[in-house]
């Protein structure tokens, strides 16, 4: 599929170029930055909710752990962001794995529910350990990351910060894409479809689930770290259940279990709160309406429905012609 590869390359280049195209207007550049953050987050969550069939409602909490760990290391221990961020991500990943363990016992909805509980607990935790989080007043004046060059350090401000986010987002999408095409990806889908059968076929369900949680939480943590140092501010409210739901909605709206789905979802949903500033009284209603609308009309999400439509058409053709061609997602 040559044209496909070409499209992927083109998209990548565009994604990396956009920050410079938007450099003129800091406002749109900022929205772009947020969009990259959510592409990163939603792709990470998609690995669980889409490909593994588990809806991790504690996702924002994990991002929070990544963020707070990084911020504390940078601001208190004055560690370089580039060393602190991996530590934060790792912390998030470990916690994510631990909090993911219920999924080995709890099926489907009960796991979702436990996620809700865990998320609430984490948010409370952030509020009530002020020595790390400054409580509900939050941590402000978080410095932007900087690159240590020989002689001097080059602070990533303005366009360079967005560019960093762009790179991070692109890498994440590629990572997720690579995983879903790897053996692990196949296993995750198999587990989602029928975990008993998968186990009976000789595939270690527990190991693969844990792996999925690890990677997904890692991404959450990375996103959290970038979020903190991009916004320059974090508070427990930045990582509450609504953030989890936002991220999930983006994935669901775009199309779970597809690579492009979360990206499409982000491009449509992430900028809304910023572009609809004047409609502040209606934002929540519009937002909630979108959720209801999605569940009712687009159970597969925007891009997902498109793929579904294409696949069913292909299947119809397959039924007709002896040499069928199957659309792959």
């Amino acid at each position: 599929m040559a044209h496909r590869r070409a499209a992927v390359v083109a998209l990548t280049i565009l994604a990396l170029a956009l920050p410079f195209l938007f450099a003129g207007n800091r406002f749109y550049a900022f929205i772009l930055g947020i969009t990259y953050l959510y592409i990163l987050w939603s792709s990470g969550m998609n690995l669980l909710s889409g490909f593994t069939g588990l809806m991790p409602l504690m996702y924002a909490g994990l991002a929070g752990i990544g963020a707070y760990t990084t911020v504390n290391l940078v601001m208190k221990a004055s560690v370089s962001f580039w060393l602190a961020m991996p530590v934060g991500a790792l912390a998030a990943a470990v916690v994510g794995v631990v909090l993911g363990l219920p999924s080995l016992r709890l099926r489907g909805f009960y796991f979702t529910l436990s996620g809700l509980v865990i998320q609430t607990a984490l948010t409370m935790l952030f509020v009530y350990v002020p020595q790390f989080t400054a409580g509900d007043t939050g941590i402000s004046q978080i410095p932007p990351p900087s690159i240590p060059l020989p002689g001097r350090t080059f602070p990533l401000t303005g366009v360079w910060l967005e560019e960093t986010l762009a790179v991070a987002a692109v890498l994440t999408v590629y990572l997720v894409r690579w995983i879903t095409r790897s053996t692990l990806g196949t296993y995750l889908v198999a587990i989602r479809e029928d975990d008993l059968l998968t186990e009976a076929l000789g595939i270690d369900v527990v190991r693969n689930r844990v792996l999925a949680f690890f990677i997904s939480s890692l991404i959450a943590g990375v996103g959290g770290a970038f979020y903190a140092h991009y916004m320059g501010f974090v508070s427990p409210r930045s990582f509450d259940v609504l953030t989890s739901l936002n991220t999930w909605l983006i994935v669901g709206f775009g199309g779970q279990g597809t690579i492009l789905g979360p990206i499409v979802g982000t491009l449509i949903l992430a900028p809304i709160p910023y572009l609809l500033q004047e409609l502040y009284l209606y934002k929540d209603i519009i937002y909630g309406g979108l959720i209801v609308f999605t569940t009712i009309f687009l159970p597969r999400g925007v891009y997902g429905s498109f793929l579904f439509y294409r696949r069913t058409r292909a299947a119809a053709r397959a039924a007709a012609s002896p040499k069928p061609e199957v659309a792959r997602s």
Binding site: M55, P102, R105, L106, G108, F109, Y110, T112, L113, S114, L116, V117, I118, T120, A121, M124, L125, Y128, L245, W248, G252, L281, Y282, K283, D284, I285, I286, Y287, G288, G289, L290, I291, V292, T294, T295, I296, P299
Partner: protein, 294 residues
């Protein structure tokens, strides 16, 4: 502490435990009925609770109705409202596989819509809502003055819970409802019209939740943060008590009420709130079906 002081604190704990517990139990009962029969985990229960409370407030403060009349109007209004909801949003998914997740997400969306509507309307008018005592004055229990209104709330909620109990145990429809709790397929085989039961139990549950909201508005001052708190508490009680078990929701609701009341005598209330979540998580892991699950 003097004997009187001890008596005072003791009575305070008991009455508070009862009132708070009763209201928690009511809402949780509504949520648990919904989940038990329809398999609908209503994430917007807190908002419905809120809606009831706010409307009662409007009736009394805005329209100057007597609290009792206002309450009656709101509760009556809940019936057509819930019938409409059922028709538009709930019924279409009755045959959808793993509809509980679908419902969960949809009701989360619903919660957002209501939250937005509340802040856009009531949120512009005031930051705290409280209605004058429906039955002013207090009953003296020893040294402890127990406000009449809250005594009334206690009576109503308890009689409601008992009524709910008797209904589910004895009445024909109630039995059918419980049959659906226990085993949907079996119920169908025994010729129960499941869809009718679904609709009925949705309305019933909504009524219970609404009443909970109304009673809360009568007993306490409240604000818009209450909705999410209530939603989480109701879920917590349902999880611990066991989805579909009204008994469970009552028992656990009471326990929640009393811990919230008593803990501040011994530990920090903050600790208590946190401990709910932990307990809930453990229960989820050890016995996902809940303590009182049939």
């Amino acid at each position: 502490m003097t004997l009187e002081a001890i008596l005072l604190n003791g009575l305070a704990v008991i009455t508070t435990g009862l009132v708070v517990g009763a209201i928690f139990s009511l809402v949780a009962a509504g949520v648990t009925i919904m989940y038990g029969t329809i398999w609908l985990p209503n994430a917007s229960n807190g908002q419905f609770f809120m809606l009831a409370a706010l409307l009662t407030w409007s009736m009394v403060i805005g329209w100057g109705l007597s609290p009792f009349l206002g309450a009656a109007v709101v509760i009556a209004g809940a019936i057509p409202f819930s019938l409409l909801l059922e028709k538009c949003l709930i019924r279409p998914f009755y045959n959808v596989p793993n509809r509980n997740i679908v419902y969960f997400i949809m009701t989360l969306g619903l919660a957002q819509i209501f939250a937005g509507a509340f802040t856009g309307t009531y949120g512009q008018w005031t930051d705290n809502y409280s209605i004058p005592a429906a039955w002013p004055g207090a009953l003296m229990i020893g040294p402890f003055p127990f406000p009449r209104t809250r005594f009334l709330v206690l009576l109503v909620s308890f009689s409601l819970l008992t009524g709910l109990f008797v209904f589910l145990r004895l009445h024909r429809v109630g039995r059918a409802l419980r049959a659906v709790f226990q085993n949907r397929e079996a119920a169908i085989l025994r010729g129960v019209d499941v869809r009718r039961i679904y609709r009925f139990s949705f309305v019933l549950a909504m009524l219970v939740i609404t009443t909970g909201g109304v009673l809360f508005a009568m007993a306490y001052g409240f604000d818009l943060t209450m909705s999410w708190t209530m939603a989480i508490i109701a879920f917590a009680i349902m999880i611990v008590g066991g989805p579909g078990s009204v008994l469970g929701s009552v028992v656990i609701g009471m326990i929640f009420g009393f811990t919230q009341a008593a803990v501040s005598l011994f530990a920090s209330p903050t600790l208590a709130t946190f401990s709910y979540l932990v307990v809930m998580l453990i229960i989820l892991l050890v016995k996902p079906s809940g303590l009182f699950a049939r």
